[in-house]
Amino acid sequence: MAQLVEVRWHGRGGQGAKTAGYILAVAAAEQGKQVQAFPEYGAERRGAPMRSYVRISDAPIRLRCAVRSPEVVIVLDDTLLETEDVTSGLVDGGWVIVNSSASPAEVKSRMGSPNVRVATVDATRISLETIGRNIPNTPMLGALARLRPDLVDLEGAKAAVRATLGGKLSEAVLQSNYQAVDRAYEEVQTE
């Protein structure tokens, strides 16, 4: 892994981008990495576009600004593709993982940037079918684990979900989140 890896989540208020960033940070910390995760708040409200940022490094992380050169961008809501510049600063060959029922090629055609790799997974449907609610954040971690296992692997993602949400969710709901992570890992599509 490079010395500093940046990940940016795009979501809407209430979709869990902040929590997902924290879970990813927990997973990386578990591997002995230095981590930083923080949301970008505006006048936050449910449904409004928001971002959260994760930095993972072997060295102490002292930057405090927004993530500007992500290796991975995760989009929790594909309607943001039209309103947010999701590929901004994405490194060449970086991944954009989008929660969408469309194919990667279709989603890529909606973006202006050719040098990115696009993956899609229908995290909304997966979360509805497993957790019973539209909370696409934990399945997106499964998709990430498939594409960037150096950042988080499948077991690490699930352990971090438990470490972060274990106190708040019942065992049954945790298990359904595990299923969501597993299914997104299996179902994520690349070009």
Partner: protein, 393 residues
């Protein structure tokens, strides 16, 4: 050796408070410090602490209750920010003048107007002359460590002054980082039991506090309060050293970073110091003699120590995250400049007002500051003393 746990800044403050187990917390939560109070209130509800938690109807009442509880003989903590601190303003002076030992964590946030919830230092700087000690932390770890040390410093018999534990709103309060959490027992041992001096609840020895105090004695009382900040400075040093001996992380009034031979130096408070450290390392690799002086203790202000620490500097930039309206400078600049003048140091100093209302500090902006300092060092005369960094004009 503590345990490494990922934690948000506010969670770390609540964790320190749980370990310290104060007698009284009287709080009125406010963004971006809300979660610290919220999490601590849960510790109270779950019986994990013995604290008497007082839900009040405003920050003015919060501070009033804190002062009363402290003078009654209790160990008292609280958390606030921005408008909340502003509403406490008149009580802040009373807290210090009556020698209460309240520890107030402040998630630094801009003041209205316009309404802004993000970080700058206007709130704490507005209280700089209130008589409180002010420590500034750079990251989640320092916010936690400072919360613990603040209690010991405040309660030392030769200090007995309230302490603000300042940590940058959102930038630290909402940043999820690895925190070395010390053992409960070790923290409790480090802070020790509170031994109040002349508590009001000692009904066998009643006395009056805060009475009318006119021109026959007020002047002398302020003189004696003035004297308290010298032992306070010593306490910050000694407690920081003792903390290092116990937990392996030492603290002082200042944190010099590559300062010994530094010619171009940035002076900063809070989380910005971390960004500057990154840039210092990068430029040092290119052979540039650049450094950072992080001020940890803004009150008491280490004027002599600052003048001593800047021995090799040929040009300085002071990073000001609060505009001192009408002064022509930010709020930190005049203090640093006075320290240098009083210490007989003739160094050109430039003021940079930056990051107001949470405007993010970019690495290239810190590079810009060092780039602009080079000609100042060469000529010895800055053409423009006060500059605004990252402003659209």
């Amino acid at each position: 050796m503590g345990k490494l746990r990922p934690m948000e800044g506010n969670e770390a403050i609540a964790e320190a408070m749980r370990q310290i187990n104060p007698d009284v917390v009287a709080a009125y939560p406010i963004t971006p410090s809300t979660e610290a109070v919220q999490i601590f209130a849960r510790f109270v509800a779950d019986g994990q602490v013995d604290t008497n938690y007082v839900a009040v109807e405003s920050e003015h009442s919060a501070m009033s209750a804190c002062i009363a509880a402290s003078l009654a003989g209790g160990r008292v903590m609280n958390v606030t920010a921005s408008q909340g601190l502003a509403l406490m303003w008149e009580m802040l002076y009373i807290a210090a003048s009556l020698r209460s030992t309240v520890v107030l964590s402040v998630a630094n946030r801009a003041l209205s107007g316009n309404i802004n919830i993000h970080c700058d230092h206007s709130d704490a700087m507005g209280a700089r002359d209130a008589g409180w000690l002010q420590l500034y932390g750079e990251n989640v770890q320092e916010a936690y460590d400072n919360a613990i040390q603040a209690v010991v410093i405040a309660e030392r018999e030769d200090v007995r002054l309230p302490v603000m534990n300042c940590y940058d709103g959102f930038l630290v309060s909402h940043s999820y980082e690895l925190l070395e959490v010390e053992e409960d027992e070790a923290v409790r041992e480090f802070v020790g039991p509170y031994k109040p001096v002349r508590p009001l609840l000692d009904v066998q020895n009643p006395y009056t506090i805060g009475p009318l105090d006119l021109y026959d004695f007020y002047h002398e009382h302020k003189r004696s309060q003035w004297e308290a900040y010298r032992p306070a400075k010593q306490a910050v040093i000694e407690v920081g050293k003792a903390f290092g001996e116990r937990f392996g992380r030492s603290y002082g009034l200042l944190e010099p970073y590559f300062l010994d031979d530094a010619e171009l130096v940035i002076v900063a408070l809070g989380s910005t110091a971390g960004i500057v450290k990154d840039i210092v390392e990068q430029r040092r690799e290119g052979g540039e003699r650049v450094g950072l002086l992080k001020i940890r203790s803004f009150r008491p202000f280490p004027a002599e120590e600052i003048a001593d620490a800047l021995g090799s500097a040929r040009a300085l930039a002071v990073m000001d995250r609060a505009a001192g309206f009408g002064s022509g400078f930010g709020t930190l600049y005049p203090e640093v400049a006075a320290a240098l003048y009083a210490g007989g140091k003739q160094v050109p100093v430039v003021d940079y007002i930056y990051g107001l209302g949470g405007r993010m500090v970019l690495p290239e902006e810190i590079h810009q500051v060092y780039n602009e300092l080079a000609p100042v060092a060469a000529s010895g005369h800055p053409e423009q003393l006060t500059r605004w960094l990252g402003v659209r004009e």
